[in-house]
Amino acid sequence: MIKFENVKKYFYKKDRFLSQGKNVVKAVDGVTFSVDKGTTFGLVGESGSGKSTIAKIAVGILSLDSGVIEMKGDCDIVFQDPYSSLNPRMTVNEIVSEALYIRGRKKDLIDKRVDNVLGMVRLERAAKDKYPHQFSGGERQRVAIARALVTEPAVLVLDEPVSSLDVSIQAGVLNLLKDLQEELSLTYLFISHDLRVVEFMSDMVGVMRSGQLVEVASREEIYSSPKDDYTRHLLASIPKL
């Protein structure tokens, strides 16, 4: 499980010579929510609303200015763009095994674990010796998921994990994520700007706007009886198929 309590993160623009005033961007401005073990918390909002900042704070890429984060167990992250999230000069085996290797695990145990997680994300064993550029976007994202799973984390932060994939491939990755959650009772913090994807994935949904959570409710409530004006506005903008 994971818990954010009144978390704040402000970015200051540097004071330049002769610049006027101070520029403060309140990327995350007092955010509180919690995610139960084995469930998915979906975070929606427009770009610039602070969703990704929350993801980065959750895994420690960014520090927080104030507030408290509680987390039980390890936490790892899957990024949006699988073209920049995999080191182009490392093989899949090197990418996936690194976290174990730097923890000094034995080689045969590492090999076993890597085979294991690659199986979980439905990649063939032959993938081990290939480089990221030899894969499609969807396969790359599977490699990124395998890398995140290799240390058996309790929480996965999914920062727009399917936004850069073709729609035809999105469903495959989303289903895979759901299966993995069930199998390993993972807790997800699922971030997306796509309300339909969030609806498919989440148990609870938080709607973000300029650094604040304007509404937090169960999926059913958000999508059937939204309370906040902004949530309604977002829902109205879903293109009808």
Binding site: I61, D76, F79, R89, E98, I102
Partner: protein, 297 residues
């Protein structure tokens, strides 16, 4: 074991290794440059077998001095009756080793300082960048001349001094690469997984920052050879009687009116070598720079 480590090192840091964007690293310029440099390198390594005479053997008899090129003396003889071809063959050793070793030194200093600067940023970065600016402020050649005058002119000093005065450009280049690469998601991911700073720098960032470094380093080899020749020409480089292309030129300049071979051949050797390195550098830039590729379509 050693082979394995060597293979992995090449795969990680070389342009020959696996790389997504560039399937081929060959083009005509690189090929041309490589052929010339390979010949030069073979001449340097096999100097004792290529040289037709002892490069230091003098013959002061009037008919032996300042002979024009002939079958016996391919490039003629100098004012002390020494065979110019043999002296130039040994001079190749000097020029190439100065070029490579000086650039190797500047590569190590530049990559290390640039990497630290770009990775850590903040005060470390400003400190190193001020140092770079100081280096840029000196007229490098005069700085080299001054330091060599203090340390004493010999080949080792020349290599070291050229190396330690020419890292600034590389440093800036590596810093810029690190600045952009450290914000890439694969670097974030490594940090999230607890990978140490040193491992992030050498395993994740540096291998991806090497392409422009190779271009710049290749171009600098030509530059370093030119500086060495100029220093030798001024008497601050390799000391006579040891032969280097620069000091053969110096000895020849007094006889330039009638003994053209004393200046033409070493001059051509310098020109061709520097040109070859520049060709390789430019060729590599063409192959490795994605922006250039786009423009060509």
């Amino acid at each position: 074991m050693v082979l394995g480590i060597g293979y992995r090192f090449i795969a990680r840091y070389s342009i020959l290794g696996t790389n997504s964007e560039h399937n081929t690293i060959m083009n005509k310029r690189i090929l041309f440059g490589l052929i010339i440099i390979t010949i030069m390198a073979l001449v340097a390594i096999l100097a004792p077998f290529v040289a037709t005479y002892d490069p230091l053997e003098m013959d002061l008899s009037p008919e032996a001095r300042l002979q024009a090129p002939s079958a016996q003396h391919l490039f003629g003889t100098d004012n002390l009756g020494r065979d110019v071809f043999s002296r130039m063959v040994y001079g190749t050793r000097i020029s190439l080793s100065v070029g490579f070793i000086a650039v190797f030194i500047s590569l190590i200093v530049g990559v290390f300082l640039g990497g630290v600067s770009g990775y850590y940023g903040g005060k470390v970065d400003s400190g190193i960048m001020r140092l770079v600016e100081v280096m840029y402020c000196f007229p490098t050649f005069f700085l080299i001349m001054m330091v060599i005058t203090f340390l004493g002119p010999n080949i080792v000093n020349v290599m070291v001094v050229i190396g330690f005065t020419s890292w600034a450009g590389l440093c800036r280049l590596v810093r810029a690469e690190f600045l952009s690469l450290r914000e890439r998601d694969f670097v974030h991911s490594a940090k999230v997984q607890g990978v140490s700073d040193m491992r992030v720098i050498f395993r994740h960032i540096l291998p991806n920052a090497m392409a422009p470094v190779y271009v710049s380093a290749t171009l600098s080899v030509g530059g370093a050879i030119l500086v060495e020749s100029a220093l030798s020409f001024l008497g601050l480089g390799v000391q006579i009687p040891t032969a280097s292309w620069g000091n053969i030129l110096t000895a020849g300049k007094n006889y330039i009116d009638f003994a053209w071979w004393l200046t033409l051949f070493p001059g051509m050797a310098i020109l061709i070598t520097v040109l070859s390195f520049n060709m390789i550098g430019e060729g590599l830039r063409e192959v490795l720079d994605p922006k250039l590729k786009e423009r060509k379509g």
